[in-house]
Amino acid sequence: MPEQLVFAMEVILNGLMAGVLYALVALGFVLIYKASGIFNYAQGVMALFAAMTLVGIMNGQVPFAHLINATFGTHIHYFGWNVPALVAILLTMAVMVVLAWAVQRFVMRHLVGQEPIILFMATIGLAYFLEGVADLMWGSEIKTLDVGLPQGINLWLDEATFNIFGYGFFIDNLDIVATVIAALLVAALVMFSQYTKQGRAMRAVADDHQAALSVGISLNFIWIMVWSVAGFVALVAGIMWGTKSGVQFSLSLIALKALPVLMLGGFTSIPGAIVGGLIIGVGEKLFEFSIGPLVGGATENWFAYVLALIFLVFRPQGLFGEKIIERV
């Protein structure tokens, strides 16, 4: 097999794995957008907030330590205990549910029936507010996150590919785990929305508010539930990205990477978010591999956006989005 082709295969595999991580972030957007028509700009910050909270709880950090110390002249920073990863994840999830409730209670509830652009602006505000709260609660230093996920090169794959192609692929264990978890997450979400009572109510609300009310569904409850689920997805994404590149404020920028994924996959489709993520992941890696050297590299920074732009021109609803039909 020609050497170039083998390299390309490795690039594609790595692209698929990166795509899964993009898809994870995009998924959070799709959930909220479907159920409430809100484009939640804060999704990326939610992932950051979740990851920071998780690290903070695991390390036994005192929340709002700086604030407390400045007010009372104390010097406390740590409780002096470590919380096991699983317990910390459950506690973080509880925090995300409280956050979902607070967002609904103090922001979204007062904006029901407003223009989409107003709701969007509200989520921008929410993003910066949440970033500030995260900073105040846990501090701004870069932290490492280790919940016990395997990391580093997968030796088995390395050896297997070496035996076949005479060249060992470099695939990170973390990427493989992320792929498996993402697949499970998507399966669980689809099962939830198709086969459970709450899922049915969620789809109902996404479809028609009035009709949902008339069959006795509380919109408020469903929205809190949706924001909680989006918080859970943000937590998963936060764990993956945080483990990969450290928990730091630039984590919230992954939201920007999710945008082209959404334009490709459509804002309203869960499978769309997955396929969109994979296409972007593979596309940008392959482009960098084949065209990158010719134009001086760094194509990964812009490739996804150009691809999204092309899609906007030819298929504005995305691959799987609802077709936009305007009746006159």
């Binding site: 086969y195 028609d208 009035q210 009709a211 008339s214 069959v215």
Partner: protein
């Protein structure tokens, strides 16, 4: 005969029960516009009660007051002999008041079956964790509710489209699916907002038959809005007539038909 506390007997021999719902001096304003002006009437158990009137008379507003979508500035809504506190629409629905909409509000992305199943949501009591496990209680509950839904689907003769996405159905069938969803909730009071609007003669006849059958078979109390006089007179036991937000007539179809004010409202009156 209408004043009897324990109801009355209709011409075709059905026993109508006591008052289920009573509207007392309802006034509803939107800014300076008075949509409903000091209206009172009651709905009795087992009857088909119609609210009629020309366009813009405030009929839909009245239905929205009953179902909690609008909150009147003045007046009280009495349900089962007690004044109802201010409620959100979903709370009203949970009390057993189901409704349909004038401009069909179905879940377009779902199948007919799923749409009708949403009508059963309030009968499903298992919590989110039991639902996630699915086995046992949650599964039994789903089966039980599914049976109730299938019965209604059979009753309204929409078996052949059970799995069809609602968005693909023609208008008349959509109206029927909406009725099915409302019926699935086994309502104590069923509100129909112009169930025959926009239908051809044949569809109107079908719908009339279903409304009568529902009332007959399940004993459901029905309040419906219609501006087609002919249909209403054949269907209903008692009629409220509205015009410009006021009540101008209330009684049996025959009484209403001979009411001078009602005739004026419908045919117009010369002011010379």
């Amino acid at each position: 005969m209408l004043d009897a506390a324990d109801g009355y007997v209709t011409e075709d021999g059905r026993q109508i029960g006591g008052v289920v719902m009573e509207m007392k001096n309802i006034t509803l304003r939107f800014g300076g516009v008075v949509a409903i002006k000091d209206i009172s009437f009651d709905i009795r158990e087992g009857e088909i009660r119609a609210i009629i009137g020309p366009n813009g008379a405030g009929k839909s507003s009245m239905l929205n007051v009953i179902s909690g979508f609008y909150v009147p500035q003045e007046g009280e809504v009495w349900f089962h002999g007690a004044p109802r506190p201010q409620m959100r629409p979903y709370e009203v629905a949970r009390q057993g008041i189901a409704r349909t909409f004038q401009n069909i509000a179905l879940f377009e992305g779902m199948s007919v079956l799923d749409n009708v199943m949403t009508g059963r949501l309030n009968y499903m009591k298992t919590n989110i964790f039991q639902q996630a496990l699915w086995k046992g209680k949650a599964e039994a509950e789903e089966t039980e509710n599914r049976e109730a839904v299938e019965k209604i689907i059979d009753f309204l003769e929409i078996q052949h489209i059970r799995k069809t996405p609602v968005s693909r159905l023609p208008y008349g069938l959509k109206k029927r699916v909406e009725l099915a969803r409302a019926l699935a909730a086994e309502p104590k009071l069923l509100l129909l907002d112009e169930p025959m609007a926009g239908m051809n003669v044949e569809e109107k006849e079908d719908m009339s038959r279903f409304v009568l059958d529902v009332n007959d078979e399940f004993g459901t109390t029905i309040a419906l809005i219609e501006h087609d006089m002919g249909v209403v007179m054949d269907l209903s036991d008692r009629v409220v007539v509205m015009d410009y937000g006021r009540k101008i007539g209330d009684g049996t179809p025959d009484e209403v038909r001979n009411n001078q004010e009602v005739i004026d409202a419908y045919l117009g009156v010369s002011h010379d």
